[in-house]
Symmetry: none
Subunit: 542 residues, 2 copies
């Protein structure tokens, strides 16, 4: 048994998480992700694939076993199902592939719900019990730690409690090291959890229990925490809540609640502060936008917009922050806008490590610029990189890495041609004392402009090769239709950092140009400025 | 008192929701959203703004009071704070603006947490009690229904329970119709809810309680449901969980849990099935991607990826679906049945007064076209004029009022000139047998294109003079940045009718052209077709 306050963390991002719509990891991705999860979080188990379901996962386990994956903290687990009906375990391909994966841990799921046994599996309730018992015993005999996932446990219990509990008793009696209660369909209500778990504990009092839930009812986090309070020692989940349908429970929500609020220990001391970084890293590898609103780790999780909130937070962070953001590696963001005064700018300057003080000419200049640009339709709340550039540009010795002279963008469609609409852009740029003149075409005028700019810049700044525009948004600022002010917000990434820039103009091309130019300038200079920043620990005293 | 199983729904998408990062609604947006929320959900209260905090909200309430907003079900509420310290209620600007908003309901928040009273407000605990009591009494005297939001109630209770409860007692004694317990910082644990609410009920046993929570701990939905189980009769939340930081609780999660699983009634019978549509509509207006993973209403919520799941679901939907997706207006994503497609189109045809019947070639053609266009990134949920055009075009005798042949759009900026960026468009159009070739400049390429088109068309169709583009929105459809599919949605008006059209392409100019052309075509033909339509009263029986 573990100490009372220790919770074992079981990550299934690479297996159940990868079932999410739009997710697909290569073998290389999985090897990298497993290493990162192990190093940064140091969690107990990493479930990395289902060797019986696809050859990619077989390859993963073969390469891991061959020494490509050395884990310091976590045990690797291979996932599969109990044997098929009416087959001996040693003759079951799926079980054989699990053994062949050579992981210290094997996780198998079995059917709990009579509806599934009869309708989906097409076998008898009796044979299903044998399948569970045989399969667990077989894997234990092979010397593996066995995690038994009771699929649809809660639905099964509600439909036929005696049968559902009997499946658990079989798995436990056959030697399973863990009995994991799964809410596979994700529809469980939090209020149902304590009663059901207490029946499980009466039935198999010596079993170590785990919890595995999905978020279809928007209750995954609450259900997991409630299960822990009622005796579950292992929590299964995924980074960012990736997974089939509405996703698995997010470890990024479960872990900070358990550690910071409920007094449990889940990760080795000090690792919780890597949570935000791992969350963004996994999103990057998955090629999905990182959801700003994610609790604890989202970009907006500690962002303050209203003036009243900003004022209060600067007096005392607790007034509008439920935890210290740095404890999960996130940080406070004061959203700067026209309405914000000197104190917002000074706060930002402090975060950036810039020497600015109340009443300085630079501070007034920054506020004045923001005011003028917001009058022209800029909106900086969602474009911190543009704000940082404005602040850096006031610093002595700052030299812009390039300057635009001329541009010409055209889009053409002819009924006489089959080419559809063609876009082409010409730019003339001053870079490091040289005048560059380039042309490129693209899918649309902004894409062509981007291509022409990079064609010139990449010669001097090869690091721009890694920079990608990940999102592009356009809005009309006032309401007179196409002749109105237009605001463009661009999100960019170089694989490590994500930043947003803004441009506004009556002309969408010009607005795009402003945002694009800021994005590339930021990519070229942010490294220099990051060096000045104070330690997170210093920020906590603010 | 309400019947036992009735829950009152209070929507604050337009106020607290709009505090979310990246959200900004125009007055026009808010008027449209309020109408939709009222019609489609029929909820009890719509909190639409904070007249004391910005002039845009003042304008909203002025236009609503002047008759621009007629609500059938909901009561409109204006939001604000208790009076300032040491000021009479009648001299407090904020309270005066609340009265001036002329809404039947006024919601004010007051401070519960001693930390806030002293640190943020800088007044005494005693004066804060007076501020609450005076303000509620003043608004009640003015004849309004008063909702009292106890800001930071749960944190305040944990810090100083007696004082927190005393603030509620003051609000209740002064006549507040509702006492709403707010978890403003969103850090509340679900397990803390029952004990705290039971203390509240001991303190003010006759008060009607509401619950207002944020999602910073990923527990907003569970906390709301638990509060209802423990006696809260009103739930406050936003569509899609928009709101400051990690957002407010999502009504899209709370309502189906309460109605489908817990036996409560929240909306008029039959309205829950509009939930998915309103969820996507609000995202469209906010110009935010609709999150696929959203419980109940997300595109992925009932999408089955794994082969085992698909197979089981086709045998019995309950095997991997926690509710019937249609009960919230969502659908399973395994098979898109030709039948459901047909009936949707037939329903729309009936609304338009078109003669279409099951199995007609026109019906199949419409479905086929929609399918193809949606594959190319079109999205018709917020562009009914484009859908109507597709249907009309299948009708015998329909003649398009114009046809585009060629276009050339260019944007140019020269460092040697002071002109800024210039945009110019050339179009060649076929109109009523004649070829027209026009050129115009504009503020940006789309505006230039619009100007060139009108220059040609207005000669034949002078009524286009009255048509204005009132909004223009651009969205990246997938997520590879500026080279991705781009969807343009245009809102137009001729002073009587307002309509929306959509275009999609990899090229923003082409996407704009599609939406623009539909907009002008709709302007020219809708009069003809309106004549065929059945009376609104007949439509209600459909």
């Amino acid at each position: 048994m573990l100490e009372d306050n220790r919770i074992v963390v079981y990550d299934t991002t690479l297996r159940d998480g990868s079932q999410g719509e739009g997710l697909s990891f290569s073998v290389e991705d999985k090897l990298n992700l497993a290493k990162k999860l192990d190093e940064m979080l140091g969690l107990a188990y990493i479930e990395a694939g289902w060797p019986g379901s696809n050859p990619k996962d077989e390859e993963f386990f073969a390469r891991a076993a061959a020494g490509e994956l050395q884990l310091k903290n976590a045990k690797l687990s291979a996932f599969g199902s109990t044997r098929r009906a009416n087959v001996l375990p040693e003759e079951d391909t799926n079980l054989r592939l699990l053994i062949a994966a050579k992981t210290p841990v094997i996780t198998i799921f079995g059917k709990t719900w009579d509806l599934h046994v009869i309708r989906a599996l097409g076998t008898t309730l009796e044979e299903n019990l044998n399948m569970i018992s045989d399969s667990v015993a077989y894997l234990k005999k092979a010397g593996r730690e066995v995690v038994y996932d009771a699929e649809h446990f809660f639905d099964g219990y509600k439909a036929n409690p005696d049968y559902a509990l009997e499946t658990l008793r079989q798995a436990h009696a056959a030697g399973a090291d863990w009995i994991v209660l799964c809410d596979t369909n994700g529809g469980l209500l939090t209020e149902e959890v304590p009663g059901i778990i207490s029946r499980v504990k009466e039935t198999i009092p010596n079993a170590r229990l785990g919890i595995h839930v999905h978020n279809d009812g928007d209750l995954a986090c609450a259900n997991t925490l409630t299960a822990v309070r009622n005796g579950a020692e292992q929590v299964q989940g995924t980074i960012n809540g990736y997974g089939e349908r509405c996703g698995n429970v997010s470890l990024c929500s479960v872990l900070p609640n358990l550690e910071l609020k409920m007094g449990y220990q889940c990760l080795p001391e000090g690792n919780l502060k890597n949570l935000t970084e791992i969350s963004r890293y996994v999103a990057e590898v998955a090629n999905l936008s990182h959801n700003n609103q994610l609790p604890f780790v989202g970009r907006s999780a500690f962002a303050h917009k209203g003036g009243v909130h900003v004022d209060a937070v600067m007096k005392d962070r607790r007034t509008y922050e439920h935890i210290v953001p740095e404890s999960v590696g996130n940080s406070q963001r004061v959203l700067i806008s026209e309405l914000s005064g000197q104190s917002n700018v000074l706060h930002k300057a402090y975060q950036l490590g810039l020497q600015m003080h109340k009443g300085d000419a630079e501070v007034k200049e920054v506020i004045e610029q923001i005011k003028q640009l917001e009058n022209r339709g800029f909106h900086f709340e969602n474009a911190e990189a543009s704000i940082e550039l404005i602040m850096w540009r006031t610093q002595p010795g700052y030299i812009a890495p390039f300057e635009l002279r001329d541009m010409l963008v055209l889009s053409e469609r002819r009924a006489s041609s089959n080419e559809g609409l063609l876009s082409e852009a010409t730019v003339k740029l001053q870079v490091a004392g040289n005048m560059l003149h380039t042309v490129a075409d693209g899918n649309g005028p902004v894409n062509a402009l981007d291509a022409a700019l990079r064609k010139a810049l990449v010669v001097y700044y090869p690091q721009l090769d890694a920079v990608r525009l990940t999102d592009y948004k356009v809005r009309v600022v006032n309401e007179d239709g196409t002749a109105s002010g237009i605001r463009v917000t661009i999100t960019s990434s170089d694989g490590h950092e994500i930043w947003q820039t803004v441009g506004s103009s009556t002309n969408v091309i010009e607005a795009s140009w402003f945002a694009l130019a800021d994005s590339l300038e930021y990519a070229l200079v942010y490294h220099l400025f990051k060096q000045n920043q104070p330690e997170a620990s210093a920020l906590q005293t603010v």
